[in-house]
């Protein structure tokens, strides 16, 4: 009977979830097989989202980015790519849950014919997140950390600097876990290798399943209770230069 009760509860918890929101970056659908260069060359557009994640607050609409007119449906992926001024791009599209913009000194530079967000970390932990909070979420960041010494994290379900989930990479090791009230709990960790200096670091939180990928290869997979909706973004704990070509987010829909 206990098993049956658990099954009924599990079944009930799988109801559809949809969000309505405002402005959102519209990008490519995450469906399909990405290679490591999967998100290169995406345009930076903002679309009026009928449903789906709301990555911009009101401040975001005043940023210096182009706004596209396409509508984003819940379940589609959205790609943020840098353009314009680095400080303005970060300030308009993100807010900080740890550190300040001075700790990462954002600049927009050109790399491989494409605008890249260059961050120079000064050693103070800094985390910048999109304005919208999410539940089940996929996130992929095209990033170059070859000139960075420390830990780069994709954070999600982030409430503040003491409560968040993460996939981190540091010196060839990926860790997957969560921080609750400042206490870190690791669900899984594994070594990874990357052939290219640009890697597609990917994290997903689907129900109680959490995964970390490098490109198409899953490196870490762990399980934990579902956390409250929270912000998604990037946290840097270390010194040196990090370059970001794109940040893709996808709201994961219940099936």
């Amino acid at each position: 009977m206990t098993i049956l009760a658990a099954l009924v509860l599990a079944s009930c918890s799988q109801g559809k979830k949809s969000e309505s929101g405002g402005h959102q970056h519209e990008g490519t659908e995450a469906e399909g097989h990405h290679d490591d260069a999967g998100t290169d060359g995406e345009a930076h557009e903002h679309g009026d989202a009928e449903e789906g994640g709301h990555e911009h607050g009101d401040a975001g609409e005043e940023g210096g980015h182009e706004h596209g007119g396409e509508e984003a449906n819940s379940g589609e992926s959205n790609v943020w790519t840098p353009s314009g001024d680095g400080v303005e791009a970060v300030q308009s599209d993100f807010h900080f849950i740890a550190g300040t913009i001075d700790n990462i000194n954002p600049e927009i530079v050109e790399a491989d014919g494409q605008s890249v967000l260059k961050l120079t970390a000064d050693g103070t932990p800094a985390a910048f997140v999109f304005h919208k909070s999410y539940g089940n979420i996929g996130m992929a960041v095209r990033v170059n950390i070859t000139e960075f010494k420390g830990t780069a994290k994709l954070v999600h379900h982030a409430e503040n600097a003491d409560n968040y989930e993460f996939v981190s990479i540091n010196d060839g090791k990926m860790r997957l876990g969560r921080v609750v009230e400042g206490e870190e709990k690791i669900f899984d960790e594994a070594d990874y290798s990357a052939d290219d200096q640009w890697i597609n670091l990917r994290a997903s939180a689907a129900g109680t399943h959490y995964k970390g990928y490098i490109g198409n290869k899953m490196v870490t997979h762990g399980h934990g209770d579902e956390m409250k909706d929270g912000y998604v973004g990037i946290m840097l704990e270390g010194t040196g230069e990090v370059q970001v070509k794109s940040i893709e987010t996808a709201i994961l829909e219940n099936e």
């Binding site: 995450a30 992929a140 129900g207 990928y213 099936e255």
Partner: protein
Amino acid sequence: MESLLPEWAPNVHPLIIHFPIALWLVAVFFNLLSLLRPEEWIRHTTMAMYGMGALSAVVAFFSGKQAMDDVYVPFQGEMAASSHSDWGHYTLYFFIGYALLHGFVYWKKLDRKKIVAIVMFVLGTMGMGLVANTADMGGKLVYKHGVGVNQ
């Protein structure tokens, strides 16, 4: 093990997964038959089918766990992957629990009482619901999201 796989198969899971489905279905069929015709050979066959169904579910579960860590899942397939995994757990626990219970009932010959036989049949049928849910999510992973296809 991988060298034994056909070149089109991404892993061994799709080759194994049909066994628990089919064996449990046949077990439920024989279970029904045993209600209608209480003959010993049908009773034995029912027990054997449930036992093999549970054993094959164990193999399918672990092959699925290995497969899930190997294949690329696009973002929009992640929820189906999680649900498939969760329902796979529920199905495995139910199959093992039920097979053990059925084994006890069979051993003690309790299933010769009509009410016990009916309850065991109903429970066995519920196992079909679990495996159907698991299979539904697995089907979505492959045919909707293309997981494990052409990798």
